[in-house]
Symmetry: C2
Subunit: 437 residues, 2 copies
């Protein structure tokens, strides 16, 4: 451009993994950013409590401060990037930024899944915007994909692998045959799982992302804690073995179905048919399959986490905010807005599907009859039943029994599981996984 | 919204398959469109030479005219949707629309790949926009994906299945074992191939789409006719057989590699490893794998053609144009603009890769020595060689010989093929396919 470019100043709060990626792109790729946006995008300030650690971005050290207020109080900064994570300080920071009439870019799914309405209302009240492409599925453009590119569709369903840690653990268990605990330790050693991986492996992280996608796609305002969720911590190597025998892989799926009876949402380890796109997602990758009434089946796949993949999405949001595209998107999507029609949620007990049940049962006669009787009384029909005798000498008197049900509903399965759990011949709680056909 | 919505009037030229889909979405889903855009989007006029055929959209018949001038001359229509196809009348129409200061939405890859610069310059001169999501990969949001969502990346490579007809024919040959000619007839019967499928099966359609992606991703201004291309009409059932034995599937791939020595572009039937995302694309689906320097590998998959999938993309463009997002995108992308840096093209002869060669050779001694000698003199190293004797009694005195090369370059392979073709012991021209590893 021969005309002088407008300058847009950006402040970044949180100089961790993703923050480092964002700083690298904004500071080291200035020419590309100027060419792509037509504006002179300046990373003016970075705030982090740790102002000494070397993140490998020399230019960043000169603009580093330990006080986010240096960003909030700088009238020249018009975009604040929140990358601190969590829902406490991050919330305060975003509120401060919006009240100072700054636009916000965030990668914080927990924050939006918990305080989306509050923060979006505050943004609207201040004439500001919030962009959050990186909050769901990292580098995969699923927010823009659903919110913009598929806008001519009524979204019918979503099947998504949204937690890279869980997917890494599941696909590693599948490849190595190792059990859950050992695989988590290996994932921690390789940096794919945090010291406390609870939010990742118990399905909470995936539920938060699914809640955001459900709001974007269906208008549903849902507390992510209300989404029925099962974590991968119930999955053992024996499940991997049986799933493989039956022609499936196990993936932690977030599922949304927009049915005439309401919106069904769930997060669960799920048996996915071998050879399908979702079953082929290995390691720390994420994927989202969306079905729209016009477009049909669309599948997105890419890195769901990591420094530069996530920074790719954050910086796209920064550019969109700088050039005004976000302002239009924010207004037309009207997320968590009062006038947005919301899909009603279906009672989770009514959700239909097929299930995989694994229980440790006494290696004795009559066991199968008792379990079959319970299932029959709950009107659950058995599609397959596998029981392996223990010829391996390792038995503690129990053997795994695997049941694949025909189509039933979640309430009936939960009811049957409670009854099965109470049987003397069953050790511990049965494990329930979903089946995607 | 309680405030009165702005009205945006749309004129549609071309009431064929995609036009019918667009009319259905705009006329039958008015409430959804208003909710998604915040404007009252009115399909005011449809022009088509055939004003009598029933397309199953009753509301459309009242606004149907046989003269596109009724749209061009209507000052209230601000968006013209060009769905007539081809590069002759379509060009005149788009020029008329731009000169009448109307924004254009088109699904016409041939038009943009041929006259992109001319039309985009005209749009800029008139202060108008052109949107074309549907021109590449139908319902897959690849234009927005690369142009917006991956804007923080230097794009490194693209691998794309861009022609649904070719993919349908290849995957059907693979499943049925039928030969090329019979499969084309079947595809025509099912509506997946046109009466004259030449532009689809000879790689031209894929080359046009690849030229557009190459401009979007790398700034390269390339005449699509300059892209080296091989069509699927060279692929025979014997190739399907050998590819399968070797662990590959054959797909018509558009490839772009942004290397230090320049941009490599090609369209060719390619051996793709079984089990990869690209090899799993069957039937009339399309897919695009993009590698960005920040985001890494991102994969998009969906329907590349058809009434409603393509209309999904066209209507998203109409909405984006109506709400002003296209104006920003059009300005910042500055496609076919003078100040956009263009990647230089690499000499196709220098492009490196591995190749699959199939030749019909005399079932006689000394043949292999002659061919091996030619390859050695072109510095082409053989990775695998398969030759099957003809025990089937059907021989015409020749048997297929398959050679998989190690890494070499296109020029050397083409040179060797010319020499092999001249051998008396070789019948016809050798078939050359690429190998993607």
């Amino acid at each position: 451009m021969t005309t002088k470019q407008e300058t847009v100043k950006v402040g970044l709060v949180g100089f961790g993994t993703i923050g480092t990626g964002v700083a690298k792109l904004l500071l080291n790729e200035k020419k590309l950013m100027a060419q792509r946006s037509g504006v002179d995008l300046v990373l003016a300030r970075i705030a982090d409590l740790d102002t000494t650690r070397d993140r490998g971005v020399p230019k960043a050290m000169k603009i580093l401060t330990n006080s986010a207020d240096d960003i909030i109080n700088d009238p020249e900064i018009s975009i604040v990037v929140e990358l601190v994570g969590g829902t406490t300080y991050a919330k305060t920071l975003v509120e401060k930024a919006l009240n100072a009439h700054k636009n916000v870019v965030t990668a914080n799914k927990a924050l939006l899944a918990t305080y989306g309405k509050e923060l979006f209302d505050l943004a609207r009240a201040n004439g500001c915007t919030i962009a959050f492409e990186a909050a769901v599925a990292g580098g995969i453009p699923i927010i823009a994909g659903i919110g913009q590119s598929l806008q001519a569709n009524n979204i019918q369903s979503i099947r998504a692998i949204l937690n890279g840690t869980s997917n890494f653990i599941l696909s590693t268990m599948e490849e190595t045959g190792a059990d859950y605990d050992a695989t988590v330790k290996e994932a921690q050693r390789l940096g794919y799982a945090e010291a406390n991986p609870a939010l990742d492996v118990n399905g909470s992280d995936a539920a938060q992302k699914l809640a955001i996608l459900a709001h974007l796609s269906f208008g549903a305002i849902v507390n992510w804690k209300d989404i029925p969720r099962v974590g991968i911590d119930v999955v053992q190597s024996v499940d991997m073995y049986f799933a493989k025998q039956l022609g499936y892989k196990i993936r932690l799926l977030g599922v949304a179905n927009n049915t005439k009876s309401g919106l069904e949402l769930s997060v669960s380890p799920t048996l996915v048919k071998q050879g399908t796109n979702l079953s082929n997602v290995s390691g720390a990758f994420n994927a989202v399959r969306v079905v729209g009434d016009a477009v049909g089946n669309v599948f997105f796949y890419g890195k769901g986490a990591g420094e530069l993949p996530t920074a790719s999405a954050v910086v796209a949001d920064i550019l969109d905010t700088a050039i005004g595209r976000t302002a239009i998107t924010f207004k037309t999507l009207n997320l968590w807005g009062d006038e947005r029609p919301a899909a009603p949620l279906r009672n989770p007990d009514d959700v239909e599907g097929r299930y995989y049940l694994r229980m440790d049962v006494a290696d004795a006669t009559g066991v199968m009859a008792q379990i079959a009787d319970i299932l029959a009384k709950s009107s659950i029909s058995i599609a397959s039943l596998l029981q392996y005798g223990n010829g391996n000498g390792k038995s503690n008197g129990t053997v795994p029994m695997i049941i694949l049900t025909h189509g039933t509903n979640e309430g009936a399965v939960n009811q049957a599981i409670e009854k099965i759990k109470a049987l003397k011949c069953v050790k511990g709680a049965p494990v329930k996984l979903r089946i995607l056909d």
